[in-house]
Amino acid sequence: MTTADVALPGLDCGLCGFKLCSDLAARLPAQPELLERCIHLAPKTAPATLLRPLPQRESGTTAAATTVAAPRRAAGQALPVMARAEPEPTWQDSLGREFDFYLEHFPEEPGPRETILPHNPLITREMEIKVGDVLIGRPLGMSCGCPITHCGVATEVDPRTGVIVWCVTGPLRPRQEGFKDLGYYTAEAYDGLIRKQRPDVEVKIGMRYFFQPRMCMLQWRHSGLVNFMNRTKEGLQVRLEGLWIG
């Protein structure tokens, strides 16, 4: 290939890594593959770039177009109210599995309340974990097995058993205040509110249900045994133990 074979755009945009189009052109005879770097000439469907290959799923168009068609207003008709009407849930998680209710966190708390046990309960004492400490860790194995590292703030600490109650929050707080790393832990119980449930489901103590923690990033359903119920003005307060994902 010679430089005459290629009409570079002459923009000298630098996006290929060369300051001038002529610099790239000079290299093309020896390295014609460099032409792929010109975003103005390269085919618009360049191969996906991986340092290591990933499964076939990565190729091709990933999703169909989606359209949101709002109801049309007649001339002179009043604007709808500001609050968005909450659509009826599909009662399916992100993997298409059905569940019975959403579990919400208590409104006065900064995030979902969980009772957890470090895999080595002694570290609760060794790390001198106390109420108010910001913690991170991952719920490994028995119980949830969630692949996501969680961050939270301790609200109760039992140094004798190692059990910690925390409210799961976002990553901002550990960034600002520092944190203690629990490593792996087991999620022993969730406490929260049921405000919305499938119309055909009645929640009873002693029964196991599929539920969707509202703040679960993966939006995967969980299952658990209801062993405490209390009707409050905010919703049905429940405690769930024997937790599993799926």
């Binding site: 923009l11 000298d12 945009c13 630098g14 996006l15 290929c16 890594g17 060369f18 300051k19 001038l20 792929e36 770097r37 975003i39 390269a42 618009k44 469907t45 360049a46 996906a48 770039t49 991986l50 340092l51 290591r52 290959p53 990933l54 799923r57 990565e58 190729s59 168009t61 990933t62 999703a63 169909a64 177009a65 989606t66 359209t67 949101v68 709002a70 109801p71 001339a75 709808p80 968005r84 992100s94 966190h105 900064p110 979902p112 991170i136 490994l140 692949p147 996501i148 590292t149 969680h150 961050c151 409210c167 799961v168 929050t169 976002g170 990553p171 901002l172 944190f179 990033m217 939006q219």
Partner: protein, 399 residues
């Protein structure tokens, strides 16, 4: 590395202000007190400064100064473009075609228009390489389509969109074309006349300028209805006394970008490739998300196969080590961070969509910082807990 200065690799979030920009705008904070709408000397001095900046911004994107409407942010510019065009077609059906990976400034505005103003919005899919296909956009245009809005560069994965082809597609159907160029304008040559762009959004603080200033640049004859009403500033399209110092800084920032764009882009590509090559060598389970070349010159979006769920710990470890990068969010009581919907649109499952690490290099970053970052990154990744102990399977986990 105790005592080492922090490394700022989050230039896609905001860029540090260039000292030359600060010097240019400072007199307009200290000495120039005039309102540009006033007729006295002070007012005329402020007006001249605003108009000079307008010319500088226009030159950055190949537009007429007359088309530059200063706004309070890039987000406001996007709002003006989308809502302004919609309202210009009052009484007629309006359909907007946009993409599944737009910044919330476009995405949420479209959702609002759909809910409140009866607009239909269609979201074009994105390919797994992070690029929207113009043919897919063309297929979505119908008789009611008034506007196609596709970003010039994606803020999460950094991929560059073929805006000229998008504009051609839109114009073929007699439809206006808007692009959010907030991420692209500092380092990608955009020429509204050459590329056929009707509306283009900019933000000062992504160009090494001040925060709190943006612009919507409009081509000739673009129908636009204001969304902010008042004293009729900015040709009646954005009322409100002009933020003179910020506008002056924005103009100087635009001038500097235009003057050094090609050279700076080439330098950033070299830095980016140094970072990618170093990562490949030292962190073998890393992968680059998005097309390798059709991307912003300083933008690297990395995933770590098998360790995606640990992105928060990685971010915390890097932050503690003195590096500012951007990442997703763990389970949170707060709003989920932006990577999820963009990576989901690229075909990532919910687990892998949490694992992106966004490293964005800028004007003031150096080779030495990249090398130091590679040390810190490999050390931090080494502390992460893998989701599987089957080492050979990490690349395929959660596929």
């Amino acid at each position: 590395m105790a005592g080492a200065p922090r490394i700022y690799f989050d230039n896609a979030a905001t860029t540090p202000i260039d000292p030359r920009v600060r010097a240019a705008l400072q007199p307009y904070l200290d000495d120039c007190l005039g309102n540009p709408s006033s007729l006295h000397v002070e007012g005329r001095t402020a007006r001249a400064a605003v108009e000079n900046a307008r010319r500088q911004v226009a030159e950055l994107v190949g537009a007429s100064p007359h088309g530059v409407v200063f706004t309070g942010s890039g987000t406001e510019a996007d709002n003006l473009a989308l809502a302004g065009v919609t309202r210009a077609f009052a009484g007629q059906p309006v359909h907007i075609v946009t993409s599944a990976i737009e910044h919330p400034a476009v995405r949420e505005t479209c959702a609002w228009l759909a809910q409140r103003e009866g607009v239909s919005v269609t979201y074009a899919p994105v390919k797994s390489d992070g690029i929207v296909d113009p043919d897919a956009v063309a297929a979505l245009i119908d008789r009611e389509t008034r506007l196609v809005s596709i970003m010039a560069a994606n803020n999460v994965v950094g991929t560059l969109q073929p805006v000229r082809e998008m504009a051609r597609v839109a114009h073929t159907h007699g439809v206006l074309f808007h692009t959010d160029a907030v991420q692209a304008a500092s380092c990608v040559p955009l020429d509204m006349q050459r590329d056929g762009i009707d509306l283009l959004s900019l933000s000062g603080h992504k160009l090494y300028g001040p925060k709190g200033i943006g612009a919507l640049v409009c081509g000739d004859s673009v129908p636009l209805t204001p969304v902010i009403h008042g004293g009729g500033q900015e040709r009646g399209l954005r009322s409100g006394t002009e933020n003179v110092a910020a506008i002056v800084g924005f103009g100087e920032a635009a001038r500097l970008c235009a003057a050094t764009r090609g050279e700076e882009a080439a330098r950033l590509v070299q830095l980016r490739e140094r970072l990618i090559e170093g990562t490949r060598t030292r962190v073998p389970n890393a992968y680059v998300i998005g097309d390798l070349y059709r991307r912003l010159p300083g933008h690297v979006c990395l995933g770590f196969a098998g360790q995606e769920g640990e992105s928060i710990k990685l971010m915390l470890a890097l932050d503690e080590a003195g590096v500012a990068v951007s990442t997703g969010s763990a389970c949170s009581a707060h709003k989920a961070s932006e990577p999820s919907y963009v990576l989901t649109a690229l075909g990532f499952d919910a687990f892998r969509a949490r694992g992106a690490l966004r490293i964005t290099l800028g004007r003031f970053n150096t080779e030495g910082e990249v090398d130091r970052f590679l040390d810190l990154l490999s050390r931090a990744v080494g502390t992460l807990r893998p989701i599987t102990t089957r080492a050979g399977a990490v690349a395929g986990v959660c596929s």
